[in-house]
């Protein structure tokens, strides 16, 4: 319990840091969103209208500390203001819209890669030097070192454009309305296939290698040998004695990779026009939609924090040495 409280305290501090950073970031940068929005192309707005618009969006001048407190209050109440680009939609609406999709993409791909990566890592370590290991380990290294962009682009061109096997834009077919129908669900699945596969490829190598190396380090442990000496079946020893212990460090890695996955999903979403947070963030950056950018960073930080929290808790749950009765 105490451990949980300590961690929670840390998360609070971390979040506060991130929020503060978030506040100062746009204020340190040149150019303000309204001017950018209306001066980039087409007909620039006259200065007078820009001034009026700025006021509407709440870009008030005033002492920095005052702005900062107002900002902190808005963070606490999670009232992030309205999007500039999607005005008058609020940041919450804009983010809420895209969050579901990112959760779906990131969640599914993470689960898949954690599952497949861990299992194949376990098998590779157990048969270290065997053919599976000789193929899988270098392969996952290679996969790990291919940027998500490159992967997504190649997928899109090969399977989307050239072979035309899978849809490569947006989250579901344009003609469908969200509904609980097979048609809609299958459309969602087929649209998510390529983004998910490319995300899985980005992540899977990491899981595989982490667990493989962990397990190899554990193989010499006496309790593994003892498991075998007890006459237990290989699979039982492999999973209950080896993998379970080797997974522990993977869980921390798991939390760390959430950051990587968020990054990867960002790119993947941009490439596949997937309506998730990443795409929204990129769009917001391009159009200097500060409120949305700020909201995004907050949400992503929160996501990281919750991932860490879950990992912490899972660790405590899985490792009795940390548990207290």
């Amino acid at each position: 319990m105490d451990f949980v409280l300590r961690r929670l305290g840390f998360y609070l501090i971390a979040f506060f840091f991130a929020a503060t950073f978030n506040f100062f970031l746009p204020r340190l940068m040149p150019g303000d969103p309204i001017t950018v929005m209306f001066s980039s192309q087409g007909n620039p707005l006259p200065v007078e209208s820009i001034a009026a618009l700025k006021e509407t969006f709440g870009f008030v001048d005033g002492p920095l500390y005052e702005q900062y407190f107002i900002y902190l209050k808005s963070v606490v109440t999670w009232d992030l203001g309205s999007s500039v680009k999607y005005f008058p939609q609020t940041v919450n609406e804009v983010l809420g819209r895209s969050m579901v999709w990112t959760l779906f993409l990131v969640g599914t791909s993470t689960l898949i890669s954690f599952f497949i990566g861990s299992i194949s890592g376990i098998i590779a370590a157990w048969n270290r030097g065997g053919w599976l290991d000789s193929i899988l380990s270098p392969l996952s290294l290679v996969l790990q070192s291919i940027p998500a962009v490159v992967l997504a682009l190649l997928f899109m061109f090969v399977f989307g454009v050239a072979l035309n096997w899978l849809p490569y834009s947006y989250a579901y077919d344009i003609e469908l309305d969200p509904a609980f129908s097979w048609e809609y669900i299958s459309s969602v699945i087929s649209h998510a296939t390529m983004p998910i596969i490319s995300l899985v490829i980005v992540q899977i190598g990491g899981y595989l290698l982490t667990i493989r190396n962990n397990l190899i380090n554990l193989l010499g442990e006496d309790y593994i040998v003892m498991g075998r000496a007890k006459g237990l079946s290989e699979t039982r020893v492999m999973f209950n004695y080896g993998a379970r212990n080797a997974l522990l460090p993977s869980i921390t890695a798991f939390a760390m990779t959430v950051g990587v996955v968020l990054g990867g999903s960002l790119i993947t979403e941009v490439v596949f026009n997937y309506p998730g947070l990443g795409n929204t963030l990129f769009e917001a950056i391009v159009s200097r939609d500060y409120p949305v950018i700020q909201g995004q960073l907050l949400i992503m930080t929160l996501a990281m924090l919750s991932a860490n929290f879950v990992a912490d808790m899972a660790y405590v749950y899985l490792d009795p040495r940390l548990r207290r009765d």
Partner: protein, 534 residues
């Protein structure tokens, strides 16, 4: 989809977005849907620059200026109804303008700087007064959307109002389907010009970028759109040569700017010498810019006045004769002129310096990510370097680029100018002393009292010949001083597919600007001229 089968549905892609947001507020500048203006809110009239400023009357039947050009009276068409069946009249017009006045954030065209009052004369007549004689004001007045008083009176905050179920006077007011991915907007049952309108609905798929537009276009899913497509003959036309077509008439003028008030003394000296500016102009390989950087889509602009093909009817031939040589690519002449004017490499760093020995070195700024422009500037820099001028490319963010142009904290830049109904808008925003620091158009900071007088004079009359005469003089002054260095006119992006519809504007049928984008009121004319193929 079934009930749409018997309807004539036109697929258009006027903008690229990642998601549709249901917002039909015509004064909104951000999420406003591209079918709001003109299609829901019919303009009073449409000025057609392609036809020398011809007026196509829509909700108005007549526009009459007072003789002193200090006021204008619009006569409204009889029998026009809002899409909910209520009558449209002069009070709606007055209400709309007054609302904008009360909420400056809605006044996105700064109309209240040009008008001083709106009066309802009777149900059919409304009068706008100006602080000064201004025969150009009507051009701006008709760009302001007119909304229904009986609806908007109830709206508490017109700035955040999203107007989800719009009531309009235009041809397409009924939203049949709306998702973040696609929406369909159909015929207004009460439309006054329903007999002309042959298109029952427009359908707008959400497309986020050029690649997606291209993919959809290749499959023939778009009827009318305007997007940059690389190698268009190969990627689009060749997929169905008999139906896939495009036309890129000249649009806004693109020019290089040298800041006459550069903070760098050496540069400032050089930039203020017209010979230097001319040499720079002659070093610009405009056709490479058009063909390589612009894929051949832009229109070459070798008018020393920068007027451009779009306004050719206004052109003063004298100007071309006198100064035309300076706006054509001629490296030899450029080098010669530079040398004659005393620019030589004095300090031996390989780059030319001012006659007094001070160094010239500058970066040309171009917004990051505007690839065709970046490439254009690189071609320009190639030419400048060849001439021995120490020029580089710099790619700040669009925001920094804009503010540098507005506040004059740059050396050199590439820039685009307004294209109005007449060339006056471009010249006025670029060179009138009152416009300094207001927009990025005034970036070269070139002003000239004589020019101010001429620019002010242009709209004091409604007489076309007098206007032409003023414009001739303006062109002469600009060409003589070369305050900007025009290189080409941006293309108006416009592609179409004749498989399902006919009547598209094109080079053979150049009725008006053809692009479907918001901000082009002529697209209403275009819509009305389309007919489904039987």
């Amino acid at each position: 989809a079934a009930e749409q089968d018997d309807k004539a549905v036109l697929n258009i892609a006027p903008v690229q977005v990642t998601s549709w947001v249901r917002n039909f507020n015509p004064y909104n500048q951000t999420t406003i849907l591209p079918t709001t203006n003109e299609y829901i809110y019919e303009p009073l009239a449409i000025y057609n620059p392609m036809q020398g400023g011809k007026i196509h009357y829509r909700l108005a039947e007549k526009i009459e200026f007072a003789d002193d050009a200090k006021s204008v009276v619009f006569t409204l068409r009889k029998g026009v109804k809002w899409s909910d069946g209520q009558d449209f009249d002069a009070n709606d017009v007055k209400f709309s303008f007054d609302m904008i006045k009360a909420n400056p954030a809605l006044d996105t065209r700064a109309i209240w700087q040009r008008i001083s009052a709106v009066e309802v004369i009777d149900e059919q007549h409304v009068k706008f007064s100006f602080p000064e004689p201004d025969s150009g004001a009507a051009i701006e007045i008709v760009r302001v959307p007119v909304v229904a008083e009986h609806i908007w009176r109830e709206v508490k905050d017109p700035i955040t109002f999203t107007n989800e179920n719009p009531v309009g006077t235009g041809p397409l007011t009924e939203i049949e389907r709306f998702t973040t991915r696609v929406y369909v907007q159909c015929r207004n049952p009460h439309y006054w010009d329903n007999s002309t309108l042959q298109v029952d609905c427009v359908r707008l798929p959400q497309l986020a970028n050029n690649d997606q537009v291209l993919a959809a276009a290749q499959k023939g899913e778009l009827d009318w759109f305007g997007s940059f497509l690389p190698d268009i003959d190969k990627t689009y036309v060749s997929k169905d040569a008999s139906n896939h077509k495009y036309w890129f008439p000249a649009d806004s003028m693109v020019a290089f700017n040298l800041n006459l008030e550069s903070k760098n003394p050496g540069n400032k000296k050089a930039f203020n010498d017209v010979n230097f500016r001319r040499a720079v102009s002659m070093s610009m390989d405009r056709s490479s810019m058009v063909n390589i950087a612009g894929y051949g889509y832009p229109t070459l602009n070798e008018y020393p006045s920068g007027l451009g093909a779009g306004y050719h009817s206004w052109n003063n031939d004298e100007v071309d004769k006198k100064f035309g040589q300076y706006s054509r690519y001629d490296m030899k002449a450029a080098k010669k002129l530079l040398k004659q004017a005393g620019y030589e490499d004095k300090d031996g760093d390989g780059y030319v310096d001012n006659p007094d020995g001070s160094a010239i070195a500058f970066s040309i700024i171009v917004p990051n990510g505007w690839t065709d422009w970046v490439n254009t500037v690189q071609i320009a820099v190639d030419g400048l370097q060849e001439m021995g001028i120490n020029a580089k490319v710099a790619t700040p963010e669009a925001a920094s680029w804009t503010s540098a142009l507005i506040d004059g904290s740059y050396d050199a830049a590439i820039n685009a100018y307004f294209s109005g109904v007449t060339p006056h808008l471009m010249y006025n925003t670029a060179f009138h002393s009152s416009q300094l620091d207001k927009t990025r158009m005034s970036s070269t900071r070139f002003t000239n009292p004589e020019l101010d007088v001429l620019l002010d004079k242009f709209y004091t009359t409604t007489d076309k010949a007098a206007q032409q005469q003023t414009m001739d003089q303006i062109q002469m002054i600009v060409a003589e001083n070369m305050p900007f260095i025009p290189v080409f006119n941006n293309p108006s992006w416009y592609q179409y597919n004749t498989e399902r519809f006919e009547g598209f504007f094109n080079a053979d049928n150049p009725v008006a600007k053809p692009q479907p984008h918001p901000g082009t009121p002529e697209r209403l004319l275009h819509l009305l001229s389309l007919k489904p193929k039987s």
